[in-house]
Amino acid sequence: MSSAPPDSAAAPAAETVPIERTWWERRGGTVTVALSRLALVVVLLAVWEWSAERWFDITFTSKPSAIWTRLIEWHQDGVLWANTWVTLEEIVLGFVLGSAAGALAGFLLASAPRVYRVLDPFVMALYSIPKVALAPLFIVWFGIGTNMKVLLAAATVFFLVFLNTAAGVREVDRGLVDAVRLMGGTKRDIALKVILPSSMTGMLTGLKVAVPYALIGAVIGELVASNRGLGYLINDAAAQFDTAGVFATLVVLSVIAALLNLVVGLFDRWVGRWKPLEART
């Protein structure tokens, strides 16, 4: 790679040297971050456990050991996995559907600014409606099955991804668009080769913001009509004044959120591999 072709009269080729980096130099950053997170978790749990009976009212805050016990119990009698599985399915379906639709809509509408301006207040109005208030309507229209919950999650995700993608699209450098037009690119080329990659950051922010809301959407759906899923578990535990149970479910939710977030994060890194190191997440 560092040898110039024989007949080139032009400037010198790149001079490169292999970099020897120790394992620590390569992975050190990641490891430090992981360890810091772990430490933080441990500290938080310890403080919680320690202060649980002293400062807080344990009936409402529970404590890590009790939550852990509950998780083990649920794990043993299978309650945990059956319900987690149901909710996970709703979340993933809702997230994928909602973000695909949101990205597409953001993409299309932001390229048609007039239409976007006309529709904007309607979208906002629609999204300002607390979905729980419409629960009866949701039930009437979509029943109480998985569909309704997937739809609730998707609807919430849609909006966030949509607005962020649209903002990303509007920020695209005109110069780059013009460059593709000069190459004879069609609208499709512009969309795929310029707008898509350069609005990625916006879209990814949308995805990241939407992760928690996919969970919330699905769980709210389960609270609206709970027959299974983590929302049902929360509801059930709360009705029995079983705070440890409520928190145990929330822990599972947080883990799901972290996993989804990880997926989005990996995607983000892959998409942003051209960026200078400082600008990467």
Partner: protein, 255 residues
């Protein structure tokens, strides 16, 4: 030779708040097919605006731009335009940036790879194929842009200060390369530069613009080709032309 590009009583003004900023006023120019026209003019006189209009990137405020008699309303792939500012895709490496026009034309991948390699070598960037634009020096980025434009095999080339950021040696090499490409190819070239010497070295015809795109001077250059810079510099005919251009530029600034 027949005119391939025709600008007729063209005006362009940009809107800023409630004012129109005039960039070109009542501008008329004809460019013949297979000609090499160099354009000189002071900073801000409207050269880039003119090229933007020729390329169909922006619409004129009044007047018409035609290409082979057809009005230009949008960019046409047969017109290649190397803009003054960088428009490389930051997320594509050098090779993929250069391949882009071919991707759009639907050239198959192996052929693309081959052509790109050829052009990378021609602009002296061998070994930098995998670099992203931000990892290149200013001159290198310029060369990538040049390669990207050339790879589209345009019939007409619009070049806005293509060699401004390059060193003398490389500039000479690429000028020679450009002339080699152009000669006998039937391509039409409109070349904007600030360097009078470059204008005289390359052009069949030099157009000097004054304020708001007034044509101060429009002159055939009949120095025989090949023209060697070193010899020319001491040639009295050349020196006279150089003076004439300098004077025209100075006059353009005044009016």
């Amino acid at each position: 030779m027949s005119a391939i590009l025709r600008l007729e009583s063209l005006s362009k003004q940009f809107v800023k708040d409630d004012l129109g900023i005039v960039a070109l006023r009542d501008f008329t120019l004809e460019i013949e097919e297979a000609g090499f026209v160099t354009v000189l003019g002071r900073s801000g006189c409207g050269k880039s605006t003119m090229l933007n209009l020729l390329a169909g990137l922006i619409p004129p405020s009044s007047g018409t731009v035609t290409y082979r008699g057809e009005p230009i309303v949008r960019p046409r792939p047969e017109i290649g335009y190397l803009t003054q500012s960088d428009t490389l895709m930051p997320w594509r490496d050098v090779r993929r940036n250069i391949e882009m026009p071919m991707e759009i034309k639907g050239v198959p991948a192996p052929r693309r790879r081959e052509r790109a390699a050829e052009l990378i070598e021609r602009v002296g960037l061998w070994g930098f194929e995998r670099h992203y634009p931000r990892e290149l020096s200013g001159g290198m980025r310029r060369r990538v842009s040049l390669a990207r434009m050339l790879v589209g095999d345009p019939e007409t080339l619009l070049l806005d200060e293509p060699f401004g950021a390059l060193d003398a040696q490389l500039r000479t090499d690429l000028q020679a390369e450009l002339l080699r490409l152009w000669e006998g190819s039937g391509q039409t070239v409109v070349f904007v530069t600030h360097d009078i010497e470059e204008a005289l070295l390359l052009g069949d015809r030099v157009v000097v613009l004054g304020r708001l795109g007034r044509v101060v001077l429009d002159r055939k250059i009949d120095i025989p080709r090949p023209r060697a810079a070193d010899e020319m510099r001491v040639d009295p005919g050349f020196v006279a032309l150089h003076r004439e251009m300098t004077a025209a530029l100075a006059e353009g600034a005044r009016s």
